[in-house]
Each structure stands twice: as C-alpha cells, then as structure tokens.
C-alpha cells in the first residue's frame, strides 16, 4: 500500500454541453498523504467543489488519473465506484443531506447497512455517542437543530471508518459558535481515526487549521502551502 491517500495526475474536467460547456479543471496534479488535513480554497467558480467531487469519485474527469486509497477510480465501473465510495470515502455536505424519513440512528446506520455490516445499528449508536448525540437516536432530522444535523452527518460519514473524509463547506449553513464546535469535532475524529481530511471552505480560520492549503483559481492550482503550525 502506498503512503499517498490521493494522487491526481494532469486532471482535466469540463461540464455542460455544446456552447454551454465550461472547462473547469485545467491540468491539476497533486498528491495528498495519508492522515493529512487539506483545505481547498479559492473564489467561487474556481473549481474547488468539482475537484473535491472528483476526489470522491462523484465526477469523472475528461482526462488524467485519479488514484484514491491506492485504487485507480477511473477504472471502476459505476457500481464498483459506489461500493468503493461507501467503504473508503466519507462525505460531509454543507446542507447535511440527511434522509428526512429516517431517524438519526437509521441515517448513520445507512452506509453500514448498504455495505452489508451485520452490526450496523450498534456501530451507528456508538458513532452518535461519539459525536455527543447519544440522546437523539430516534429523532428525525426535522426534530434536530442545524448543528445536531451536521453532527449526525459527520457520524454517518465517519461510521464506515473511511480512509478519506471529504467535506464541502461543512460550516457554511451554521452559525459561528456551532460551526466552531463542528470543526473541532471533525478534526478530533480525523485525529482519532487517522483519516485523511479534504475540505472545501471559504473560511480562512478553518483553512488555517489544516496541515496544507491548496488555492485554486480559474481551474488551476494557484498555490500549495503547508501550514506553519503543522
């Protein structure tokens, strides 16, 4: 097994069709080490989210190579990719995206069930306890606050013990205090599990907490800075 969590080689990606087609990622190459925390920053439309989605196997590049946790995900068919994502990658969304008809416990158990784990509910319960929601197991998303919903989403993302955790503006929909506690949680879990964390953010404070900050501009990697603190 390699010590690289993610390796991208000369990545090009366009979206849209015909005259509306836009070249979003323009020849990006980078690698992220295991256990590293990386912040993706840049102005709107610079390609941060698209780059994150490509790393998570949610977008396929026009050309270039994406190797995640040792697997060349360009070679996986769609179903294999879905299963790969389910086990190796945890995703945290800005808008949480909990399934509204399922309780907190069921939401967290969902990826484990999809992966065929027999102890899905026991593990989900432990994960919810780990994010401080032991008393909210049978609550539906609509009965939880924004911060609590994001904690459930983080518990869900971390539950299958993914090698890589990606987060798209995880505090974007939260107030400052709640946002801070969520960030603390995310970094604590990353540290405890030894996961690699890649997050997109507009928040310079959050970016500064990462080991490394990648700045994108118009689809190019503009800078790659390692944090002094790291």
């Amino acid at each position: 097994m390699t010590d690289k969590a993610i390796a991208l080689e000369n990545l090009h990606l366009s979206l849209g069709r015909g005259p509306a087609r836009v070249h979003i990622l323009k020849g990006i190459s980078l690698s992220i080490a295991r256990g590293e925390a990386v912040g993706l920053v840049g102005p709107s439309g610079s390609g941060k989210s698209t780059l994150l989605m490509t790393m998570a196997g949610l977008e396929r590049p026009d050309s270039g190579r994406v190797v995640v946790d040792g697997a060349d995900i360009g070679r996986l068919d769609e179903d294999a990719l879905a299963r790969f994502r389910g086990r190796r990658i945890g995703i945290v969304f800005q808008s949480f995206h909990l399934v509204p008809t399922m309780t907190a416990l069921e939401n967290v158990a969902l990826p484990l069930e999809l992966a065929g784990a027999e102890d899905a509910f026991e593990r989900a319960e432990a994960e919810l306890a780990a994010v401080g929601l032991a008393g909210r197991l049978s609550h539906y998303p609509a009965q939880l606050s924004g911060g609590e919903q994001q904690r459930v989403a983080i518990a869900r993302a971390i539950a299958p013990n993914p090698a890589i955790l990606v987060a798209d503006e995880p505090t974007g929909n939260l107030d400052e205090t709640t946002g801070e506690s969520i960030v603390d949680l995310l970094f604590a879990l990353k540290r405890d599990r030894g996961s690699t964390l890649v997050l997109v953010t507009h928040d310079p404070t959050l970016a500064a907490r990462c080991d490394r900050t990648l700045r994108l501009h118009l689809g190019h990697l503009e800078s790659d800075a390692h944090s002094v603190a790291a």
């Binding site: 086990r87 969304f93 399922m102 069930e113 992966a115 299958p160």
Partner: protein, 861 residues
C-alpha cells in the same frame, strides 16, 4: 474501535429479517403517501372496475349454476320443437324419474272490443311448479287457478297484458278457439329465465286449455319441454350426463335439446361472459388511462426524492439498488391501491344483490371470486410496473453532484436498457394476459392495437404541438408569448395533458358516435324499409285465404309469405355439431333450433355468391342454400353435406349454393333455405310479412291487428314497431352498462388530468410570483394560462374528434356490422365540454396560486 466492513459483503444480511431494499423502502415510506393521491386513485379505480365487473359476472354465473334446478324446473330437461314426445320417449323419461311437461308458444290473446295482444303461452301440467314457487295475486293453488269452470279455462297472466288490454282479474279473453278467464296476475315464476326473452307477456294455462285452443296443429311453432326430476340417490352430476347419453343412444333422431341443472342456460351464461369481457376491456382502458397518472406521479416522486437518491448514492448505494429501493416503494403503494380496488370490486356483487337483487330478472349469488380478483390485481400490478419503471429508471442516473450544486434543469435521459427491458416485458405480459383472458381474442387484440396506437399517436401529437410552439414566431405581447413558451418549455404540461385529455375525448367521441349510429339504425333506417307486421303460425291449409284477407285489409302493402318450420342442425360434413368448434360469430347457429324454409326461387334480398340456385321443379337429392358468412364460420363449402332434424326426422341435404343476405331490411330471410322437395308433404305453417311503403301508422296498424285476430285467431301477429321497441329497451340497458363502465375510464382520465395540472402548479407558482413581482396583474396571468390550456384543449379535441370518429367507424362497421354515418353533433358537444372542463380545472388550480402573496414564496425560491 469499531469493527471493519467485510471486503465482500454477504449478499443477504443474516441478522435482519427483511431484505435491505425492503427495509429501506419501508423507512422511506414513513414520509407518507403525499403526492400519490392520483396514483392510488388511478390504480384503485381501474382495479375496482375490472374486479367489480368480473365479480358480478361470476356471481351471476354462480347464481345460474346454483339456481339451475329451479330455472330448469328439474334436473334434466328435453325440449322438442313442433311435436310432443312419443310413447317410447315418454316411457324412457318415466323410467328415469318424475316427469312433468310444459308447452310454450306464441299466440294472440283477443279481448273482444278491447283489442288483442301477443302473448307467450305456457301450458303446464298438474305437477307445476316442480321446483320453486309460483307467486300470484291473488294467491291460490295453481291447479285451482287454471281449472276449467263454467265454460272457461283459467289463466294466470302477466300484469303487462292486463294494462295493455285494459283487463282485470275475472275478465275473459280468447286464444284460438278457447275462452280463458283471467284468475290471477303473475308476480313471479321460478323458471322464467329458461324461457328466454319473450316478445309478449306470459299467459300461463293448463295443457287442457292449450289443447282446447286448437293451435296445436302439425307444424305449429310449439315447444314441448319434459322436465325430469331424478331420484335423490341417482341425481349426481355424473347421473345427469348418464341420462343424457342414454337418451341420445336410445333416440338418435329425436332432435331434442337436452339441458341439465349444471348448464341450465348456456346461451345466457355465455352472453354474461361475453358482455363482462367487453366491460373488462373498458375497465382495462380505465387502468391504462390511469397508467399515465401513475407515470406522472412517479416522475414527480423521483424529482422530489432527488436529494435522497443522491445521498444514498454518495453513501455507497449503486444505481440499480437505488432504483430497486424506489421501485419497491412504488409497488408497495400500488399494492395499497390494488387492495382498495379489490375491496370495492369484491364488494360490488354483494352490494348489487343487496340493493337490486329482487329487481334482477336473473338470480345472483354474490360470490368472492378469487381467480377473477387475482387477475384484476395482476392487471393493476403490471400497469403500475409498466408505467412506473421508465420514470423510476431515471433515478439510476441521478448525479450525486446535485448535492453540491443546484441543478437548474436536470437532464432528461432515456432510461437505461435494463429498465426499458423491464418495461417491454411488463407490457408484453400485460398484453398476453389481456388477450389470453379475453372471451373474444379478436376483439381483445383489436383493443390492444388501438390502445398502443392511441398512446403513440397522442405522444406524437404532444411532440408536434411542442415543436410547433417552439418554431412559431414570438408574439410581441407578453400574454401570448408566455402561453406559447409554456407549451414547449422543458417540463411543460403538454405531453401529460394531451395524453390524458386526448384519451378522455377520444373515448367520449367514440361512445357518442357509436351511440348516435345505434339509435339512428334502430329508430330511423329500419322502419322505412322494414315490414310493419310479421304473421306467424299461418296454417298451411289457410294460407291462400290469409293472403286474400291481407290483400283486402292492406291493398297498398307489399305482402310476402313463405313456409316456415323449425329445425336443428345435427351434423356438418358427418361431424356431430357437439364436436364442432365454430367461430364465436356463428356459434349461435348450432345452438338450439333455427327457423328454416324452402322455396323454388331465390329470396328477395339474397344474392348467390357461390354454387348454383336449384332449377324449377327440382326433384333430386335435397339441397340447401347457406348464408355465406355463416357457412364460412362453420367451415361449409358448396358440395358439403349437412344433417338437419325437422319434426323428429333427420334429413341429409347438400350445400348447393352460398348467398349474401341483406339482413337489415328485416324482410323474410333464413340462414338455411332448402329446395322444395326436401320437405314435400311435411306439415308446416307459414310466415308472412306486410310492408307499407310509408312506414308505421298507429291507427291503421291497430285495425289490421284487430281484423286479423278476429278472422284468424290461430295466427300470431307481431307488430315490428313493438318488437323493435322491446329490442330498443334491451339495447338501451346495454348502452347504459357500457356508459357506466366507460364513465370509470373517463373518471380516470379526469383524475390524471387533475394530477398533471397539480404537478404543473409548482412551475406556475414560480412564474406567477416572479411575474407578479415584476408587475403582472392576475388577469393577465390568467389569460396567458387560459390561452395555453385553450390551445392544448383545441388541438387535443380536434385529434379526439378524428380518432374517436375513426374508432367508432371501426366498431360500427366491423364489430356491429352496421352502416356508418358521421353523426358528429353529440361528439362535438362532448369534446367541447371536455375542453371546457379541462380549462376550468386548470384555471381553478391556477387561480388559487395567483391569489398567493409573493413574499413568503420569494424567500424560498
């Protein structure tokens, strides 16, 4: 630390009782059935229609089966036309069990100056009624009511005769040479159904009474029925067959029709089945129309669930698993709809029996019909699957990236091959089941073809309207521009609206045009060309005198007279008719006895199309001329031999020619016409028609009836207008049933329409709020929507008129074999009404939207 996920997950979770997909589907369904109202309604309505029709039909057949002994008046009956059973035959009956006999015939009841009326005479013996009860008013023993007292026999008559001739109990009437005193009116007779549909009211007398009329002449049209009650120890179903076989073996030339209690009225049972199959097709139409509602609902469902679908995929669920998960949900909801439909359908016969049981002319035994209910459920499930799978298949390709960025206009792709495969298979199974389960596969196949054609055509029409709206120059004014844009924009209502409204209007127009043609043919065309009277049972010896009588009282009329007798086909080309599988259209020819005639010359209205008409004074082997279509259906060609039983004698004749016959003139014509030498010397009666050049005339007709009844009491007069009125009543009842069933299909299309409009309201809301913010008044928005719905309605109505008229033409000319006339006034009104309803429905929903304040919506847009 937590456990790890197995590298190769087990295909079946061992710990959970339910499969993962079902478990997740049930969790997702906690969100309730919101947005599935139309879906549930469509499936429930279609399944209720189909299961209701088949349950009622089954209950009627069960009723006939259970009450078979009562209807028949015994376990086995032998019925003979023209003649009574001979000594040996009677001895055979007596050897098998208790026998009771009955004679039925048509006759004229004459009430002096009050006039005369056609009656259905039933002459019974002392044992009557053998099974069940005869209810009379006043109630008294049957023997007393029918006995001869002070020069008159007793009669129990249908109250219809009392009303028609202004008679009351105690009055006297004559039939033939006998006088009858009306002793009671008939309330109900247990064996009414077995007698079939009669043209006149019942006239129940004793057999002595009938003999006294003098109407029982050789060749007169009387039917003798012998009812056998088998001893209880020998009355099993196998015994019924044994008795019938023994009877046929002992008397191979008897020419009788044998019925048993398990098969009391095969013709009636078959008619029930045939009609219910037709109504099932109408129910299937409702289901197919509802399918559009299913597809719309599922499309909306997938759109609403895009975030959940994408989330599941982001958590590792492959596309196929996601589709399976939502398919399970849709099918679970379909099961709810099917169960509602089945409950309604299964309850219908009980409801009908409870509410109308005593009014029905036939016994109904409310029955739970598991096979029929299962078939209806299968139809419902297949329709749900066929219409849901394509929109559901799109869930496979819902991109997870939608969770990161807003997808303004989700790309509409064709579903993947596997979902198209499921679609094809489910439609194929649906078609196969519909055709296989149909009584008349030809009609079912036509129905399937028409349905597929209509769907395809409406899809093309919708595409055409959208393409046209796209290419039309943009109007300068905002209102028509908005209307035009609404017609073709992505996610426009056009396809679903055109489909639901188009199917509804097509159905309405078809019904209206068929109805108009039926009414026209029955009420206008016929009387002008048809005879005014039929006279039956004219004794051979009095034929010439009868001609003179008619010429005297109707000098300007055209009079036709032919010999007539009844005969049963025994075998065709050496094959007994019982073993012949004739096509559905001609099977009736082999059922029971048919009127037959002989003539030297080719009858008017007939044209020989194969073979030769026999020469004058022909005296060789008996010959017969067959109606061409019937010969074709029976597989007969010129040169083939047939055997027909007339008056207890088997006669072999060779098919000499085939004729085409103009039946609609209602002139005298017969399926089988024999050469005169065939029946030389056989006793028979004559049938005459009187045709006036200027049609019916009440006063003149009444005079003819009166004079003829006075001069020839033995002759039965049938006024065609009355017979047609009776026939019209039956047709009107059938049309009512068809309209009832079709209204369910229309209701389904209305439901789909309302559902499609409601689904479009979200986009309307967005438009309305933005436009109102920019200063558009409600009136302006409303007129834009009215313009849009109006354009759609108009295009669909024009299509519906054309398609409906074409399908009506097909039904009228090909299925009903009648002439077609484009009677479109009713159809145009129906189509216009449908458009008005559609526009009204659309605007009603929109008005609610327009009345909303923009601010709360703008915050969420």
């Amino acid at each position: 630390m937590h456990g790890t996920i197995p590298a190769n997950p087990p295909s079946k979770p061992r710990r959970f009782a339910l499969p993962l997909v079902l478990r997740l589907a049930l969790r997702e369904l906690r969100g309730g059935l919101k947005g599935f109202g139309v879906f549930l309604g469509c499936i429930a309505l279609g399944v209720a229609a189909i299961s209701g029709v088949s349950s009622i039909s089954r209950s009627l057949t069960e009723g006939l089966g259970k009450e078979g002994r009562k209807i028949l008046g015994g376990d086995v009956t032998f019925s003979l036309i023209h003649r009574e059973a001979g000594e040996a035959e009677r001895a055979f009956f007596v050897s098998q069990g208790r026998v009771s006999s009955m004679a039925t015939m048509r006759a004229m009841a004459i009430a002096g100056e009050k006039g005369s009326g056609l009656v259905e005479v039933k002459a019974v013996d002392a044992a009557y009624p053998t099974v069940g009860d005869l209810v009379t008013e006043p109630a008294a023993p049957v023997a007393d009511l029918l006995a001869e007292r002070s020069g008159a026999f007793g009669a129990i008559v249908d109250s219809a005769l009392l009303i028609r001739l202004d008679l009351k109990v105690g009055d006297r009437v004559t039939v033939g040479a006998a006088t009858f005193e009306i002793r009671a009116s008939l309330v109900s007779e247990p064996d009414k159904v077995a007698g079939g549909v009669g043209f006149g009211p019942r006239f129940l007398v004793s057999q002595d009474g009938l003999r006294a009329t003098g109407l029982l002449q050789p060749g007169s049209l009387v039917r003798w029925t012998y009812r056998l009650q088998l001893p209880p120890e020998r009355a099993g179903n196998a015994d019924l067959e044994r008795v019938a076989a023994a009877a046929n073996a002992a008397f191979p030339e008897a020419g009788w029709e044998i019925r048993s209690r398990v098969n009391a009225d095969p013709r009636f049972a078959r008619n029930i089945e045939r009609f219910s199959q037709f109504l099932t097709l109408v129910g299937l139409t409702a289901l197919l129309v509802g399918g559009v509602g299913v597809a719309n609902a599922v499309r909306g469902f997938v759109d609403r669930k895009r975030a959940s679908i994408a989330t599941l995929k982001s958590l590792g669920a492959p596309g196929g698993q996601v589709v399976a998960l939502y398919l399970v949900q849709v099918l679970l909801i379909a099961v709810v709809g099917i169960l509602i439909g089945l409950c309604v359908g299964a309850a219908l016969p009980f409801l009908v029996a409870g509410l109308f049981g005593s009014l029905l002319p036939i016994p109904i035994a409310p029955t739970l019909a598991p096979a029929e209910l299962a078939l209806a459920a299968l139809y419902g499930a297949l329709t749900a699957l066929a219409f849901a799978i394509a929109p559901l298949g799109r869930a496979h390709d819902v991109p997870v990236s939608g969770l990161f960025r807003d997808q303004v206009d989700p790309e509409r792709r064709f579903p993947r091959g596997r979902y198209l495969g499921i679609l094809t298979v489910s439609i194929a199974v649906l078609v196969t089941v519909a055709v296989a389960a149909a009584y008349d596969r030809r009609i079912a196949t036509i129905f399937v073809g028409a349905a597929v054609f209509a769907f395809a055509l409406l899809r093309v029409l919708a595409g055409g309207v959208m393409a046209l709206a796209k290419r039309l120059p943009r109007p300068r004014r905002a209102t028509p521009r908005l209307a035009l844009a609404n017609l073709h924009r992505p996610g426009a209502l056009t396809p679903s609206l055109v489909l639901s409204l188009g199917l509804g209007i097509t159905l309405l127009v078809t019904l209206a045009v068929v109805d108009a043609n039926l009414t026209r043919t029955l009420t206008r065309t016929l009387p002008e060309r048809a005879p005014s009277f039929f006279f039956l049972d004219i004794p051979n010896a009095e034929a010439a005198r009868f001609d003179a009588h008619l010429q005297a009282i109707a000098p300007d009329a055209k009079i036709e007279r032919v010999p007539m007798m009844r005969g049963r086909l025994v075998s065709l080309k050496g094959v007994p008719v019982g073993e012949i599988k004739a096509s559905e259209q001609v099977a009736w020819v082999l059922d029971g006895d048919r009127g037959i005639t002989y003539t030297e010359y080719l009858p008017e209205g007939s044209t020989v199309v194969a073979g030769q008409w026999w020469p004058e004074n022909y005296n060789g082997k008996p010959l017969v001329s067959f109606e061409e279509k019937i010969a074709e259906g029976l597989g007969l060609k010129v040169g083939d031999d047939i055997v027909v039983n007339v008056l207890g004698r088997n006669i072999t004749a060779m098919v000499a020619s085939l004729r085409t016959v103009e039946w609609r003139t209602l002139g005298i014509n017969f399926v089988m016409v024999f050469s005169p030498n065939t029946f030389a010397g056989a006793p028979h009666t004559h049938l005459a028609t009187v045709t006036f050049p200027n049609g019916a005339d009440g006063a003149r007709d009444a005079a003819i009836l009166r004079e003829t009844a006075k001069a020839f009491p033995a002759v039965t007069s049938l006024r065609v207008k009355e017979a047609l009125d009776a026939f019209n009543d039956i047709v009107a009842q059938l049309v009512m049933a068809i309209r009832g069933a079709s209204s369910i299909a229309l209701l389904a299309s209305l439901l789909v329409l309302a559902g499609a409009l409601a689904a479009g309201h979200r986009a309307r809301l967005y438009d309305a709020v933005i436009l109102k913010t920019l200063g558009a008044t409600r009136a302006r928005l409303l007129s834009a929507y009215a313009l849009e719905y109006g354009a759609l309605g108009l295009a669909t109505a024009v299509f519906g008129l054309i398609a409906g008229t074409l399908s009506a033409w097909y039904i009228v000319t090909r299925v009903m074999n009648m002439g077609f006339s484009a009677e479109l006034s009713g159809a145009v009104v129906a189509a216009a009404l449908a458009v008005v309803v559609a526009i009204g429905l659309g605007l009603a929903g929109t008005w609610r939207i327009l009345s909303q304040k923009p601010a709360p919506y703008l915050r969420n847009l």
